[in-house]
């Protein structure tokens, strides 16, 4: 009987200890995330050697991209060397990135010092007091905020101060298979290409094998480029004053065009396929993010180049970035600022451009052209990048992901003929109206 009591007591104590451990506050190196949901690495893990520690403290930065495996292109490792701050990189999968950061802000987690946050989150984080204003620090810094591309400056104006600095500026472009254009006898796309030229070329480039299409003229827009088409067709998409989704006749027209191309076999149907039809030579053109340049590099088995997304009613492009921000609960904000200052410096931005193929949001640094991926040897039209960026605005990326995801799902249903474009636009707008402003 006594043994039973001792056993019962031990089990209860073990349970209590386990719970206390689970609920305990995070220490300097702990985080609120489950181990399987994140990977932590010191900046030096990717390279051969890490910093010797130096005179600075320890800072943790979170991102959705793994650090570049090449030591020279690992901006975090170079940051450690330059600042003497011990920098740990926490990689959170992109699919969970925004929600994890929101949870950290909600729980006042201090395990991350520097957040790289997305456009859709920055206003919410400011509102929740999760990040600190950088204006005072910027006033004594070498970072020239007046040199940022216009869209970034406008976003900061809307927040009532500067809370984040853009880590890069990416955009959307047209990728095309030069070999297929040559075979079809069509002139290569230019940055002045009209939308009508695109539609005509897509039809000509489509190759059929009986009833089925063997090569599509163009891939279906992806979750990003649906919005380039909708914006180009004249819709505002995002209204900064209300935070609402604003789509209408432009979306109906563009979705209708896509549905028409899908029905003719010029574009593929939406499907669960994960294969990149452009990269595999099954589509002559694709609208996709500029970051794909680095991914394709010299790995495609054909000649390819880029151009600006064809201009429909207006030249429209969505700007993509993330913002370096300091966690309001960070205990080491001075060192966090040192890290941000380096990453925004000419050296930091140049390394980032070389590693990712993304341009700097600082115009003077972007003009130096470090973003021209060396491995992409077939690209001649690098002006497509600067041209696209000049038309870039913060659009759908400022809306909640659930709202834009729902709209894309509706657009895809319309592309398959399961609903009309007008029904898709209405369903998307209704859902956005009930979701935004909650």
């Amino acid at each position: 009987m006594k043994a039973k009591k001792v056993l019962a007591m031990m089990m209860t104590m073990a349970m209590a200890c386990g719970m206390l451990t689970g609920c305990g506050s995070s220490g300097d190196t702990g985080t609120a995330l489950a181990p399987e949901q994140q990977e932590s690495a010191t900046a030096g893990d990717a390279g051969e050697a890490s910093s010797e520690g130096g005179e600075g403290g320890k800072i943790t930065i979170c991102t959705w991209n793994d650090p570049n495996p090449n030591e020279e292109l690992n901006m975090y490792l170079q940051c450690e060397k330059a600042t003497g701050v011990d920098l740990e990189v926490t990689v959170i999968p992109e699919s969970d990135y925004s929600s994890k950061l929101n949870q950290m802000v909600a729980t006042k987690d201090d395990s991350i010092d520097v957040f790289i946050i997305w456009e859709s989150d920055i206003a919410n984080f400011v509102q929740a007091g999760g990040i600190v204003p950088l204006d005072d620090r910027l006033s004594g810094s070498s970072i020239d905020t007046g040199d940022f591309i216009d869209a970034v400056a406008e976003l900061s104006d809307g927040l009532g101060g500067t809370y984040g600095l853009p880590w890069c500026a990416a955009t959307e472009i047209l990728f095309y298979n030069q070999d297929m254009f040559d075979a079809a006898g069509i002139d290569y796309p230019t940055n002045d290409w009209a939308y009508a030229d695109f539609l005509a070329a897509a039809e000509k480039l489509t190759q059929k094998d009986g009833d089925t299409t063997s090569v599509y003229g163009c891939t279906l827009p992806n979750v990003q480029t649906w919005w380039a088409g909708v914006g180009g067709a004249g819709d505002q998409i995002y209204d900064p004053s209300t935070g609402q989704l604003v789509i209408g006749s432009g979306a109906e027209a563009f979705v209708g065009d896509c549905a028409d191309m899908v029905s003719k076999g010029i574009m593929p149907e939406p499907s669960s396929d994960t294969a990149d039809l452009f990269a595999s030579g099954k589509a002559a053109m694709a609208w996709a993010g500029s970051w794909n340049i680095g991914t394709y590099g010299d790995s495609l088995g054909f000649n390819w180049d880029i151009a600006t997304i064809p201009t429909n009613k207006e030249k429209y492009n969505t700007l993509h970035t993330g913002f370096y921000t300091i966690n309001a609960n960070s205990k080491n904000q001075e060192d966090a600022w040192k890290v941000i200052e380096y990453l925004m410096s000419e050296e930091g931005q140049t390394i980032n451009s070389k590693a990712s193929g993304n341009m700097s949001a600082l115009k003077k640094i972007a003009d130096q052209g470090a973003w021209k991926v060396e491995a992409a040897t077939t690209i001649d039209n690098w002006e497509a990048m600067t041209d696209s960026l000049s038309a870039g605005i913060f659009g759908y990326t400022c809306l909640p992901a659930g709202v834009t995801g729902n709209a894309v799902s509706n657009f895809e249903s319309a592309a398959m003929g399961q609903m009309t474009p007008a029904e898709a636009v209405k369903a998307s707008s209704d859902y956005a109206a009930e979701t935004i402003g909650y």
């Binding site: 909640p400 995801g405 859902y431 009930e434």
Partner: protein, 308 residues
């Protein structure tokens, strides 16, 4: 006086035994209170606020519920959840019974068959769903490639995006989930416990195989059918997320046809950051599970046969 002292000692012993018993069950009680009861009450409380994922929160009374009942997305997910749960339970239970009956036949290599049939069940649902998503792709899917070989021409069926095929594929995939495998094992053990004499008596009476199945086998394993149906319901209501999210996305493609309530809860909480609203949805899911359970137990009074 002596009697009173004896009573007192007995009372103390009883009290000690009671305390010991409580000490033994306290780990479970603590776990239940902390990880089940508290979250339920917390969910109820948060459902009355406009809490966002970043922690901002204000009390808004029943507004989430009012908005929910006005939302077309909510009513669509209710319809889908109801349909998905009922069909999934029926399909997986019938399949599990069939597999258990086959495995119950006395034949060589039965253990190997059982291992092979159960093997897909131990694969995590997410990995299973991703594998099937690739298999049922339109352009590069393995299944279409196989059909093309047999048909002698290119077959490109859009299995997961076509209204007419999506449910068929999703319910087919549920046959390989852990829940179905578990059901099969439970039925298998139940079938081996059905007394042989009953079948022998049927044989003497000249009963057909179907008659034996419906009049002997099913009544004898009916408690297991109830158990599996309740488990299947809860699994369909809560566990379907792990299968459907990687398979058809958080919007429940195509056209919201697979957007069960658990998917909508995830979408509202983690994509739209509406934690308060998603808690209100979770309350509905909680009620749904309770009602399903109550209905099944109600039916069991009439349909389940207990030997004792």
């Amino acid at each position: 006086m002596a009697k009173t002292k004896k009573d007192g000692v007995a009372h103390i012993n009883r009290k000690k035994d009671t305390l010991t018993a409580y000490a033994f069950i306290s780990p479970w009680i603590i776990g239940f209170v902390c990880f089940t009861l508290f979250p339920i009450f917390f969910m109820l409380r948060v459902s009355l606020t406009n809490r966002k994922l970043n922690g901002a929160s204000e009390f808004i009374g029943l507004k989430n519920y009012v908005n929910m009942f006005k939302s077309e997305a909510f009513w669509n997910s209710i319809r889908v959840t109801l349909f998905f749960t009922v069909i999934m339970v029926v399909v997986t239970t019938i399949w599990a019974v069939i597999m258990a009956l086959l495995l119950n036949q006395r034949q060589r290599l039965n253990g190997i068959f059982q291992f092979c049939y159960f093997l897909p069940s131990v694969i995590p649902s997410v990995a299973l769903a991703y594998a099937f998503r690739t298999i049922f792709g339109k352009e590069a899917g393995l299944f279409n490639a196989l059909l093309s070989v047999f048909a002698g021409k290119s077959v490109a069926i859009n299995w997961l995006y076509d209204h007419s095929t999506v449910y068929m594929v999703v319910f087919f995939i549920t046959l390989f989930t852990y829940n179905t495998g578990q059901m099969m094992m439970i039925f298998r053990s139940g079938l081996s416990d059905v007394p042989r004499e009953l079948y022998e008596a049927c044989d003497l009476d000249g009963a057909s195989a179907a008659r034996k199945f419906f009049n002997v086998t099913i009544p004898m394993i009916s408690p297991l059918v109830l158990f599996n149906a309740v488990n299947g319901c809860v699994s369909a209501l809560n566990g379907s997320f792990a299968l459907l999210y990687p398979l058809t996305g958080e919007s429940g493609n195509p056209d919201g046809m697979t957007q069960v309530l658990s998917l909508l809860i995830y979408k509202e909480a983690f994509s739209n950051m509406k934690v308060g609203y998603s808690c209100a949805l979770s309350v509905v899911l909680f009620i749904f599970a309770a009602v399903f359970g109550a209905v099944l137990f109600g039916l069991s009074q009439k349909l389940v046969y207990y030997e004792n």
